[in-house]
Symmetry: C2
Subunit: 286 residues, 2 copies
DNA sequence: GGTCCAGCATCAGAACAGCTTACGCTCAAC
DNA sequence: GTTGAGCGTAAGCTGTTCTGATGCTGGACC
């Protein structure tokens, strides 16, 4: 019988590409991962890994096995969620990941609406890192966002549900095209917001000239108000209105979603959190 | 993470009812099974077993978990079948279970039609025992039959596909009702054929008086020809026609099916066998 | 071309899990 | 009351699965 623990390592390898990265993500030594994958290869009876230069590559057989591993692990998630739903109600610790703006604006009222026994533990995390953290079991559930220009999570092991949508604004009273020569305030490279701004500008026909790299939208708005550059900010981050910053809505929208491991939605605490988030009226009368 | 090996034990316990029986079926000592189930209970965090008199009973939580265990084990079967399909074609050993008549009539021509690399290993087995043997991994595939009066396999871990249907005959030129006072030749208790005859007679309003208990239909027909009693025989068992036995078709039919572990149909050898069996014309011009 | 470092495999040893054997307990049948 | 089936626990052994050490290979950089 194939061992799900080994299958999990293979799946992670498909995502991360190196044994060392898998080991770090799942808190093993590379040696252990290497041995386990060798054992899996032996049991499978097919070559799964081949050395390519300094790293390993998955054979076609391994990719096929990853697909099946996904299905197996998903069923195991389902089983565990069902057990939790049976044992306990929505109580105990719930590890929540959230992008910074959500942590500041959405979560405080949301957490207040959770069942009393639930102990939320919030970690700020960029949406780009969420699927890895969910797979590794570091988080139970996460709030993420996606922009029109940035592809959503494609990881099959993660399940997402849309919560709401909001507009994106330019921090001055011009069109996006007219801001082509202004200095820009961008988020740090590697974050979703950084990618979004770059793509939006590219779509408008120019490459933004970066002056500042700031992740916190409050700081971004303060810089914009001080004439330090222009930026794109989502509606959620622009409330309450920042004095001294005029906003122009753009035909770009940002969607906020909830994410968790596929099959794990039945977990009572996850389900309770999902319900509270879905029930929130974020923009009651904008 | 829940351990599929332990889940398998729990599933088997749901079928067999005692730890001792599970141990025997899966070739462990009862002690090992007991320990593993205790560990599963600990990991699940819910009571799964409760002593009832001398045996154990599954709690509602355990039954829920069995459902999920089934889904997990099914996915694992799928994964292994896919691996085999990738590694090798239809070759290597294939453990086939078959009811005796099938072994004598159907299998010889069928085996000849299998791909050359395939090494069939046939075991005669009563359909009533097939699902247990499949679950235990003692067989890869089996030929079974079901009668109108006898419920088919209900085991969710086994998948069946109908191959063909045939009529059942009474071994003399009378109606079933007229045979109520004759001595009967029955199969051994516990077999499907035994149950079928009893039920058919009960449906006709009487309880058959057993004289002989014979499983082999050739012997049954020889006894019938010798005036030792009447019996019900399926069409397949009555070919070629037995001299001295007149047959009366009854409005009872017997279906022959192929069975294998759910999800395992993708295994190349199983699939090849299935194809050959489905392609056989058993009753070309009856 | 030489050096450095990242990445992987292999080995030996330690920790752990899982199995068997032995034994005791309980409950039902007779 | 006796017997035997069924389950659980303790002790001991074995195989698995980690870690840590070591060596090899290939790409990057000087």
């Amino acid at each position: 019988m194939l061992d799900p623990r080994k299958l999990r390592l293979l799946r992670e390898l498909a995502h991360r590409g190196t044994i060392a990265a898998v080991a770090e993500a799942l808190t093993f030594t590379p040696s252990a991962v290497s041995q386990q994958l060798s054992a899996l290869e032996r049991e499978a009876g097919v070559p799964l890994l081949e050395r390519t230069g300094r790293t390993v590559a998955l054979t076609p057989a391994a990719h096929l096995l990853v697909e099946h591993a996904q299905a197996v692990l998903e069923q195991l998630e389902r089983a565990e969620a069902a057990l939790r739903a049976l044992t306990e109600g929505p109580r105990g610790p719930l590890r929540i990941g959230a992008f910074p703006t959500a942590a500041r604006t959405l979560l405080p009222p949301a957490l207040a609406g959770l069942p009393p026994g639930l102990e939320p533990m919030v970690t700020e995390i960029d949406p780009a890192d969420v699927s890895a953290a969910l797979r590794a079991g570091e988080l139970d559930v996460a709030l993420i966002h996606e922009y029109d220009f940035v592809p959503p999570i494609t990881d099959r092991s993660v399940e997402t549900h849309a919560l709401f949508s909001e507009a994106v604004f330019l921090t001055q009273r011009t069109s996006l095209e007219e801001a082509r020569d202004d200095p820009w305030i961008l988020a740090k490279p590697g974050t979703l917001c950084h990618t979004m701004t770059i793509r939006a500008c590219q779509a408008a026909g120019f490459e933004p000239r970066a002056r500042h790299h700031l992740d916190d939208f409050d700081t971004v708005l303060a810089f914009a108000a001080a004439g330090q550059g222009v930026a794109l900010v989502p509606e959620l981050a622009a409330r309450p209105p920042h004095p001294g910053v005029r906003l122009t809505p753009l035909p770009i929208s940002r969607r906020t979603l909830i994410a968790f491991r596929r099959g794990y939605g039945g977990h009572p605490a996850v389900s309770a959190f999902h319900q509270v988030m879905a029930g929130m009226t974020v923009f009651q009368s904008s």
